[in-house]
Symmetry: C2
Subunit: 232 residues, 2 copies
Amino acid sequence: MKSAYLAEIRHLDLFRSMRDENFEAVMRGAYVQSFPPLVDLIREGDSSDFLHVVMDGSVELFATWTGKDTTIGIVRPVSTFILAATIRSAPYLMSARTLERSRIVMLPSEDVRSIFDEDSGFARAVVRELASCYRASIKHTKTLKLRTSLERLANYVLQESAARNGVDAFLLDIEKRKLASLLGMTAENMSRAIKALAPYGVHIEGNRVVIENRPDLEAFAKPTPLIDDPAS
Amino acid sequence: MKSAYLAEIRHLDLFRSMRDENFEAVMRGAYVQSFPPLVDLIREGDSSDFLHVVMDGSVELFATWTGKDTTIGIVRPVSTFILAATIRSAPYLMSARTLERSRIVMLPSEDVRSIFDEDSGFARAVVRELASCYRASIKHTKTLKLRTSLERLANYVLQESAARNGVDAFLLDIEKRKLASLLGMTAENMSRAIKALAPYGVHIEGNRVVIENRPDLEAFAKPTPLIDDPAS
DNA sequence: CGTCGAATTGACCGCGATCAAGGAAGGTGG
DNA sequence: CCACCTTCCTTGATCGCGGTCAATTCGACG
C-alpha cells in the first residue's frame, strides 16, 4: 500500500492513538482497491469481513426492504464505515455502493477485532467513533420525526453552508434524488421543495445553491445544535 | 446502596467484565433515587453529569423541537441510558422521564469516564453496548423510512410476541399514545391502524393483544432480522 | 447529434395529521 | 358507594403533505 495512504489513515481519529506495532499489524493485512461508480461494496445481511476506509471518491450507505430502498448516509474521504458490524461480528445492516470512482482500503475484520482486544488506545478511539455514529443516527431520527420535508431541506442547506465555513453559495455534492432519499422524500417532492424554499431566501439551480437571505432561512429552518450540529 | 442492586448492576453486560476494584470505585460515587411517574430525569441539551441505570419501573426517552415531541425509546430494567453522551462529555440529545414509579441508579459521568480510561475490560463492554445502540437506531430509521405506519405496527406486534417466547396473546406494556409516537404516528392514527390490522389476524382490545392468524400477520408484516431482530 | 438518466412539472390520489366530539376506565372525594 | 373528574382511547369529518403516475425537459457524455 502506498505510504501516503498509510499516513492518511494513521491520522484518522480512529487510528491516531493506537500503538505503532498494532497499526502496522492491522495494515499488513489491508489492501487498497479502486472501484468504478455504482459498484456494490457490501450488501446488507452479509457478514462483516472487512472494515472499509474511503480514501477517494464517495460511498452511499443505503438500506432495502421489499423492493424499496432508502439512503442512510454518504461517506466521504477520509473515513470508515460499518465499524459497528465489524466490532460486533454481526451482519451488515446497510448496503454500500460507490457513487463515483473510489479508492477503498479494506481491513480484515478479524484483525481489527484482535487489535481492538489488546490495544486500549484503539479501543477508546473505537468508542468515541461509535458514540459519534450513534448520536448522528439519533439526530437523523429526530429530524425525520419532528420536521416536515421542507424543514429538513432548509436545515440541510444551512448545514452544508456551515460545513463550508458559512459561505452563502456552494455546490451540492450529491445527486438531488439521493438527497431526497436521505431526507426521506421522493425526487419529485424534492423538486417542489426547492421551489417552495425560494420565498425564504434560498435559490437552487442545478447543483448551485445560493442563500440570499440567511435570516429568513434561519427563521424558517429553526436549526438547533441538538439536531444539526455534526460535531457535539 | 443495597447490595441486591449492586449485584444486578454487576451482572449487566456493561459492568460484567470490569475489574472488581473499578466496579467498587464507580459504585462508591453512585446513588439510588426513587421517582414518581412523569418526573423529568434529564432534559436534552443539558450536559451529562450522570450515567443512569433503570432498576425498577420504566423510562421514556424522547426528543423535542419547536413544541412538538416524539418518543425515541423506552428503557426497562435493568439497563442504562445516555451512555454515548457520558462517554463523549457531550450534551444529551434526548430527554428522559419516568413513566411509572421508578428506581434509578445514577453514576457520576466523570467517574465512568475515568474508569473507562483505565479499565480495558470496561472499555470493550462500552464498545459493544454502543455498537448495539447504534445498530438499534439504524433499525429504527429503516422501519421509519421503508415502511408504512401499518407495517410498523404489525412488525411491532411480532417483535413483542417474539420477546415473550412467541406467545400469541400478551399485554401491551406501553400506553398506546406512546407507542404511536414511538412508531412515528398520531394516537388517532394508531386507533385506526389497530382496526386495520384485524383482517390480518390481530386483535387488540385495551392493552390485550391476540394474534389469531400468525401466517397472515407475517405475510403482511414481512419481518426481517435486519430490522426487527433486537439482537444481532 | 442521439442517447440515457436525472430533473422538472402537472394531475391525481391516499396516507396520515388535524380538529372536534364522544365514550370508556380508573381514581378521588364527598 | 356513588358522583365526578381526569385521562386515555376512539370515532368521524376534513385537510394537506407528500407519494404516485405520466409526460416533458434538461444535461452530460459518447
